[in-house]
């Protein structure tokens, strides 16, 4: 499958840029941690509340940080006409989409690990039901990265891209936020079997957002 090879090429390019510029490591990850700490400040007086709210706060922090990741992913294409280069490279639009989404997903996975440790240490959460947590995280990460990439290219090339992306992405990912939070709640403190419908919902979101991206990214890239 040449499309997967092309996708790997684009993903490797994006990740190489991130490794050299260290924006993801030195700005996006710390941002996520700061959000986590801010939530703790806001709810500090009631110690018992933090572990119960941890799933929602974890995903809210991740969502806010993922906006930065999406913006960053398209900011690197903005400079020096890199987007024109991508457009003229002859790569399949779907492959470019998959590549960029995979790179964002990899950054989000790293962020989830850091935030996960943060939640355990700062919010006093005991991890349980690793399988549910893992599947939830995988499906939610794919859905977030794919949706972010779609709206990233929708807003690409506009002067107000940085402020427009959150306005477009955040409403579109509410099902992901909801599903992931409820699944985590069930896994960590509730009835674990109640998590499965939410994991399925997340799976559907992931599949749908990837389909939309595969179909729409090419035409949108041509136009931007």
């Amino acid at each position: 499958m040449s499309i997967l090879r092309e996708a790997r090429l684009v993903a490797a390019k994006d990740l190489r840029i991130e490794r050299r510029s260290r924006v993801a490591l030195q700005q996006i990850v710390p941002f996520g941690v700061i959000v986590l700490v801010l939530f703790a400040f806001a709810i500090d007086p009631d110690r018992g509340l933090l572990p119960r709210l941890a799933p929602g706060l974890f995903w809210a922090a991740l969502l806010l940080a993922s906006i930065l990741a999406v913006n960053r992913s398209f900011a690197v294409e903005e400079a020096n006409g890199a987007r024109d280069g991508l457009r003229l490279s002859g790569l399949d639009g779907a492959a470019i989409f998959l590549g960029k989404a995979a790179a964002i997903a990899a950054e989000l996975a790293l962020l989830e690990l850091v935030l996960g440790v943060g939640v355990i240490v700062l919010y006093d959460v005991t991890p349980r039901n690793a399988l549910v947590l893992f599947l939830t995280a995988v499906a939610a990460t794919i859905a977030l990265a794919a949706t972010g990439t779609v709206y990233g290219i929708v807003a690409a090339g506009l002067r107000v891209r940085e402020t427009l992306v959150p306005l477009l992405v955040l409403p579109a990912v509410t099902p992901v936020m909801l599903g992931a939070t409820r699944a985590f709640e069930s896994a960590l403190g509730g009835v674990p079997s109640e998590a499965w419908p939410w994991v399925q919902l997340l799976g559907a979101c992931a599949v749908l957002s990837v389909i939309v991206g595969v179909l729409a990214f090419g035409p949108l890239l041509e136009e931007s």
Partner: protein
Amino acid sequence: MTDTQLPPVRPKQRMHLRYTLAAVACLAIVAWMFTELRGAVVYLRPVSYAVSHRSAQGTRTFRMGGTVVPGTIAKSSDGARFEVMEGGAKAQVDYSGGPRDLFRDCAPVVVEGHWAGNVFTASRLLIRHGSAYDASKRADANCRASTS
């Protein structure tokens, strides 16, 4: 020479194939939503479910929906005690909070709270209402007729 190095033009058929696959996948997801997802989004638990899962729920807060059993309402200064029923199950509710306009026998209600033993301790009481509108008769006529 240069011609061979240019990337190949994407055939139109490939896009058609992609659209077909996407349509099939979307249809499958929609069909699956209609069948499987129905239990996923839970705003409230029916009384029967809440009663049968009482031990699993522990003291966690959730919303329970049912109908007020006629003749069981005992109002107090800061709330009310009453029974709700649904699907053949009944539960005792201890509600503390403000009064509601439409709260009475046979009213369809949603209570938010948790189990305390066999009693459901509620801090919020919401009234659902049906989709029927009528100037002369109440929507809960069935409940009244069956219990009186």
